[in-house]
Symmetry: C2
Subunit: 428 residues, 2 copies
């Protein structure tokens, strides 16, 4: 038995206490698997006196996470505080500078400061691992960075925010409005203090930016993620999409093509028979597409004490077993600044609008579409009592610019009431 | 850039040529990710002159894979020949004995000889990696052995033979008999030379035995896998199961409980709304259940050149990056001989039978069930023209012994025509 791997854990929220519970519960098993004991030297959190339901008496207490990260009797710094900057970043930097690897669940920190941290890790000859930062318990960072390392990755997709998927699923199953389900979720304590992190797609966008870096060898570039939240999704769109065989998801897509790197975290329609379309509730799903492997789908809990702690422990065990790999799968200096795609990959789109019910209305609308070069795959006009006819169009594949031109042209016909709703259909 | 990792590849079938294509196509990328070049020194196969559609001229040729495995200019032996014993095993042993790691796609070799090979690897200070041996391109060995290393694994399930899943899916969608679809698959070249390896569940059973070892830290024990093929599944059962909301799958289940280790590769009913129930065609799916992570589902191509070569390359890249882990996730001497469960975990069962259409028939049948302590969850009798009524029963959870007693009792009533069909329902 070689010498133990001694952890310093900063942050004792749900995930931190989850990690401690696993290490206490499975000490013998972990030691056998790693070939060395996994021990905890010291912990740090804001409130020393809070009862967290876990024994902490054996561990040294540090009020200051940076001091914890610098301790000589810590081999591995486990950062579970959160926050893009501030103590999490300072402590991670201190750990690297004093010769320690870092395991973190902090998607915001890596999405914003990941490249600088990866450079610091390389310079120190240390590594940062972050399985828990993306899709909770799903080992997607490992699958993408290691299991699929022989592939040229073409596209990565995912439903990576459980709250959004819960809201959209619940709207559909209960026939409720966004506002009604949002209020429900709030009452149940499902929402973050700042709910726009979830429903605005920011949290999921952080995760997507990390996967894109692993997939394409590009520097993490969260500001380049095209973000759109679920706040404007209506029950009407959910029902009409269903009528066409689709489900609306907050879908992350990172894609590399000749036009450059595309990163989108936006509501999309996906076929209701696809694995993504069938994903209900707060579960997460990641879809990885490589030139050799084809399509791999991974599904599991995207949050919660157990799943997230499981992901942290996977990283801890890798490091205990001696696995070394640069933070994003290759040296930071080899990560390219990606050419950003100026336009998204052409796609079919769903368009919903209200049309004045009078002769010539359809002719004018169709002409506007034709003028912009947008052709129609399927169209439905629904029965109606008022003078405005609900109309649904599924277009053939079209560049977004052409679609926007068509939407503009339709607005000018004078027969379209209000602004049409257009949502991308992602082929999966 | 450190020194190259020099491969010796034995076996140039679909997978071997697939691996060579990846290494030739992505040399620069692989080198950047691994921090060192991945090169091929020598290859070996039965027929030197066959055109395999890939350049081999740069590599030394060895007729004898054992001689290849022993070469001083090979660092890593890649075994892609297949076969439980014979050249594959001899060459793998030679590689380990001469200080080389081994990457293999050979499920039969590891299911039969895995423990001895793991011991040999440990003794030599080398490792064997085998991602490609289980579920093709799906990185399930990595997910189970590394990503979920912090978990106590409770159960591993999977559809791990694409041919069987194709046959069952096709029977259902086309309403064809097993014999008809088998003939179709044969004509399309989907079947192995010995099709019982597929349809008899042997191939999938090999895979399950490997996953069980990783999951539970037990010595690989393929003979303990309860094997039952799909040959006796009828279109009638498929349709009636569908009527009850179930799909029939050849399902592998490895489960550890107080009663010991259970390994089953048998036809089971699963809910048609579950990920396993929705899995169509030749795709594979593995479901991993751990105490912290909950349920993780992995889905992808279970065979084929690209996916299997992708899995081989994942292992090659891990070794190139310096990852060291004992073959089955812990030292061979730490692997236990599992207590074998003498009875399977109680489960609901589907029972189909024909009942003589006369007064008292149901009373006698129900009495036989009651006598054995088997209670009924749902029951349907279907309309019929002949004097034999088709009857379906879904039982509550029952031990298999009680179910067998009930089946025996029903046979003795004199009102059940022929032998009832009983199929386990697996909760997923």
């Amino acid at each position: 038995m070689t010498k133990p791997l001694r952890l310093g854990i900063a942050g004792l929220g749900t995930v931190g206490t989850g990690v401690i519970k696993i290490i206490q519960r499975h000490a013998a098993e972990l030691s056998e698997k790693a070939g060395r004991p996994i021990t905890i030297t010291a912990v740090s959190a804001r409130n020393k006196d809070k009862d967290r339901g876990v024994r902490l008496g054996d561990y040294a207490w540090q009020d200051d996470p940076v001091a914890l990260a610098r301790r000589d009797d810590v081999d591995l710094f486990v950062e579970l505080m959160g926050g893009a900057d501030g103590p999490a970043k300072a402590a991670s930097e201190a750990a690297l500078a004093t010769g320690k690897d870092v395991v973190t669940a902090n998607k915001a920190m890596l999405a914003i400061n990941g490249h600088a941290l990866a450079q610091a890790a390389d310079a120190a000859g240390r590594i940062i691992r972050f399985e828990a930062a993306v899709a909770g318990g799903i080992p997607v960072v490992k699958a993408l960075g290691e299991g699929l390392a022989g592939n040229e990755i073409k596209r990565v997709l995912g439903v990576m925010n459980g709250t959004c998927n819960y809201i959209l699923t619940r709207m559909k199953s209960a026939g409720l409005s966004y506002e009604e389900v949002f209020a429900e979720a709030d009452a149940l304590g499902y929402l973050e203090a700042d709910p726009t992190l979830d429903v605005g797609g920011i949290d999921a966008g952080h995760k997507l930016a990390l996967l894109a870096t692993l997939a394409f060898g590009t520097q993490v570039d969260f500001p380049a993620v095209h973000l759109e939240g679920i706040e404007r999704i209506t029950i009407e769109d959910i029902n009409l999409a269903a009528d066409m065989g689709y489900v609306i998801k907050l879908l992350g897509v990172a894609q590399m093509s000749a036009r450059g790197l595309e990163q989108r975290m936006t509501p999309c329609l996906v076929p209701d028979s696809s694995p993504l379309g069938q994903l209900e509730g707060a579960t997460n799903m990641c879809v990885l597409e490589g030139d050799s492997v084809g399509q791999i789908v991974l599904r599991g809990a995207g949050a919660g004490e157990g799943p997230t702690a499981s992901a942290v422990m996977g990283d801890v065990m890798d490091i205990a077993r001696g696995f070394r790999m640069p933070t994003f799968g290759r040296p930071a200096q080899a990560l390219n600044t990606a050419k950003i795609a100026t336009a998204s990959t052409p796609a079919r789109h769903y368009i919903r609008m209200k049309l004045l019910d009078k002769p010539g209305a359809w002719a004018k609308t169709a002409a506007a579409l034709a003028e912009a070069g947008v052709s129609i795959d399927r169209m439905r006009q629904y029965t109606h009592d008022d003078p405005e006819a609900p109309v649904l169009i599924v277009t053939h594949k079209t560049p977004r610019a052409a679609l926007d031109a068509a939407l503009h042209g339709m607005a000018e016909t004078g027969v379209v009431v209000g602004a049409p709703v257009a949502i991308r259909i992602e082929d999966v």
